[in-house]
Symmetry: C2
Subunit: 281 residues, 2 copies
């Protein structure tokens, strides 16, 4: 079997066309969705992520504001910047690019963002609502993963989804979203004793641990759907947590890296921002 | 093998002795923990649960207030009653006994309770914090389950915990708490295709679906730890979701019903209330 590709780049492009049309509809009601991005410091990776988000906003017709702060900013100053944006009626979404300097509490920052502008879906109240299945902003990467599976008409009901990695940003929430879609969900992680036996049970395997080519063909059941959330740089080249070349001979569906989950994350951020703007009206 | 009993009644009694001492310490700082329970309507089961909570408070030295409202109460009236308790400095914990009449939104009620008085652990912000491992009120039944396992020195790290049932009150949170304890966690439920194969993989099996004797000896691995959260009434007699008599010959540990998880739930409610009172000082 050679896996069909779950092409996130294509799906993201298609979705962004739809988002553009959504923005036009909002424009006819005199609403321009607005996203504020706070970047603290000069980390090159963060700068490039932020640039990509801004460019995507521009292409979709979303008003984006970049607020740059020095690493010397105090927690209090950063929190009052967030307060200002919480009260700014032209801003529908606020995100603080992580990581932030260690002298500032990440949790305090996340909790200060107004839940109805938390388009990253990181505020505990939004995480809680996601878990109980209430309507809320879904965290962008897990949201993007589920959208890719749905776009490919992959049946999730009663299927065994195994998640490798239990980060707060990807692993834990993607498991909850798949559970909400009626999958049977297993969380595995660094402490799991028989991890490679567990991954072999997966109808749907989601890998998000940040270890290059950690999952090989022997770890995957014949015909499994494999979603690779990892982005690693090895010898100057990007690769995922899944050994693409060997796993593609065994899986039924597989996401490439790059061009898989990555492009979906920003797309869902745009979708959340537009969703938030729509609630203004 | 004959299973050792996980005796919730005994552990609850032991814990309540400790809580009494905690209350005495608080008394020396002139703090009396206060729990307010709102009961809407005359449902006999709810009345008996509320009575049990009040009695447990009294025995522990916790000040408890019962607020009875007719089923005709409007959502607005109920919410303002909650506001009043949110602002009452003698009250550290507020719970609204569920279910409430259908004309009132359960979600609105849960979200109105101040998160720092939400001793049931049902507010989305507390659910979100539980999920990301932040310090917060844990929901009482899942909290009680984990306490029982710890008391019996059952190693959870890397063990495969299978949860049957995905309710917001038990199944979902107990899975997250076990994940926080470094177990490998599988959620199964009504849509799971091979449920009885999955339960057979469990080192630790938590059953919370409300179906009498649903899990039998054939569904359990030799030596598994089995926690039965179900409370069902069959022919006037209480029984759990697990067929006690057959499973006890196969499991290494098993909770009885009654006398297993049940007594722990109220105990953890008391513990949360005292925890909340301690934060006053």
């Amino acid at each position: 079997m050679t896996a069909l590709l779950l092409n996130g780049k294509e799906l993201a492009a298609k979705k962004r066309e739809q988002l553009k049309r959504d923005v036009e509809v909002l424009a006819s009601e005199n609403i321009v969705p607005g996203l504020a991005v706070i970047l603290v410091g000069e980390d090159p990776a963060s700068q490039s992520y932020v640039k990509a988000k801004q460019k995507a906003c521009e292409q979709a017709g979303i008003h984006s504001v970049l607020i740059k702060k020095p690493t010397s900013i105090s927690e209090e100053e950063l929190l009052s910047e967030i307060d200002r944006l919480n009260n700014d009626e032209t801003i529908d979404g606020i995100l603080v690019q992580l990581p932030i300097p260690e002298h500032i509490s990440e949790q305090a920052v996340i909790e200060r963002i107004a839940p109805n502008k938390d388009v990253d879906g990181f505020h505990p109240i939004n995480i809680g609502k996601m878990m109980t299945g209430e309507d809320t902003f879904l965290p962008c990467t897990p949201f993007g993963v589920v959208e890719m599976l749905k776009e490919a008409n992959i049946d999730l009901i009663g299927k065994h989804a195994v998640v490798v990695g239990r980060s707060n940003i990807v692993g834990k929430p993607v498991g909850q979203l798949l559970l909400n879609e009626h999958a049977t969900v297993t969380y595995t992680h660094s402490r799991t004793k028989n991890l490679r036996e567990m991954t072999n049970l997966a109808d749907i395997l989601i890998v998000a641990i940040g270890k290059p080519k950690f999952i090989g063909a022997d770890d995957v059941k014949d015909g499994a759907v494999v979603v690779d959330v990892g982005i690693n740089r090895v010898d100057g080249k990007l690769c995922g947590d899944v050994d693409f070349d060997s796993v593609k001979e065994k899986a039924s569906y597989l996401t490439p890296v790059p061009g898989g989950v990555g492009p979906m994350t920003i797309t869902m951020l745009l979708e959340n921002t537009i969703l938030s703007a729509r609630k203004r009206s």
